[in-house]
Symmetry: C2
Subunit: 210 residues, 2 copies
């Protein structure tokens, strides 16, 4: 939602000429909003350009293609999310508490823009989905690191599989959550922690190496 700020910044320039870097930020901000509203397919580059008060080639000069744009938006969102989760997890020691903190941070982030996540998560971008898969793998690797910092009893591949399972499960629940507005993030985080923690502790140790 930095859209507002960027828009104002853009407006300060004369003749509608705006430096490349700022324009790029504007595209990303506006594109995120558009994807959230309309979904990937529903969002048209034409409308994006129009919202920015600019013509299509300007957009294309900055982002290359619709798929690349979507990937960039996703990467940005994913990065912010990762940051929040890392912060939340850093404060905790035991595997169970870390897990709970991570899930809660994720759910809270999602809760802030429910509709948005539905659009962003449940989306593949055609041939370019390879890169989306890569982003998801990156997130999983973060989770793997959070989990695995305890003891390394499992090979990396299994650890990654576990991380993916946790990630995918939480994402799926988050998607469905949209239809269950009464559920609080705390309730869900607790439930999911109870689902995952026992198995993870058995497989990985509880992280209280000491």
């Amino acid at each position: 939602m930095t859209t507002r700020a960027v828009t104002r910044e853009v407006a300060e320039h004369a003749h509608g000429r705006v430096p490349r870097e700022l324009r790029r930020r504007q595209v990303l901000a506006e594109a995120k909003g558009l994807f959230v509203e309309r979904g990937y397919q529903g969002a048209s580059m034409e409308e994006l350009a129009k919202r920015m008060g600019v013509s299509k080639p300007v957009v294309y000069a900055l982002v290359g293609s619709k798929e690349a744009l979507f990937r960039d938006v996703m990467a940005q969102v994913s990065e912010e999310l990762s940051l929040r989760m890392a912060e939340a997890v850093a404060a905790e020691r035991s595997l169970e508490r870390r897990l709970h903190a991570g899930i809660l941070a994720f759910l809270r982030y999602v809760a802030a823009e429910r509709r948005g996540w539905k659009a962003l998560l449940s989306m593949e971008a055609g041939p370019g989905s390879e890169e989306i898969v890569a982003i998801k793998r990156g997130q999983a690797q973060l989770v793997a690191a959070l989990l695995g910092s305890g003891t390394g009893e499992l090979d990396a591949r299994r650890l990654e599989a576990l991380a993916l399972a946790v990630n995918g499960g939480v994402e799926t629940v988050a998607l469905w959550w949209e239809t269950q507005p009464e559920l609080t993030p705390e309730t869900l985080a607790e439930l999911l922690t109870k689902l995952y923690a026992p198995g993870l502790v058995a497989l990985l140790g509880d992280g209280e190496a000491a």
Copy 2:
């Protein structure tokens, strides 16, 4: 892959005139293959028609729209998958063994057409994705039934959330599995069972009500 059979059946008709019901089965069979090969976006209705040796309006008369077609294909696949899982699970008693059997059945089904699942699973179909979500919910409800047949200690909503978490996690791992061909379904099923079973047993009981 009944494509072969349907094609032969179609060929038996004179003048290329084929009864509606058969044509419809042909469309679904051929469409599944096409979506699997090219993905949703990459598949064109033109090519689908050409493969069937027919013109576009014929296809549209039978399926309405590309999204509806995709939804129908997904529903069919989902139904077959559910059947296999139900069979596998029916033979087992304890929650842990049922879980293991279900996951294994899922993974084996997926293994049979790896590339296919990548295309089908990781896909949203634009505005119609609502219906895909509905299908996934249906699958989750099946899983919920499989899980919940033990004891009913949790309310239905939490049970559904757990089923979604398991489903989503297994699906995500299955998607990633494509890049890890050395892993056997058995290995993965065991790992995932170890992840989920302890938590589920703690939350639901072990199903050995006796």
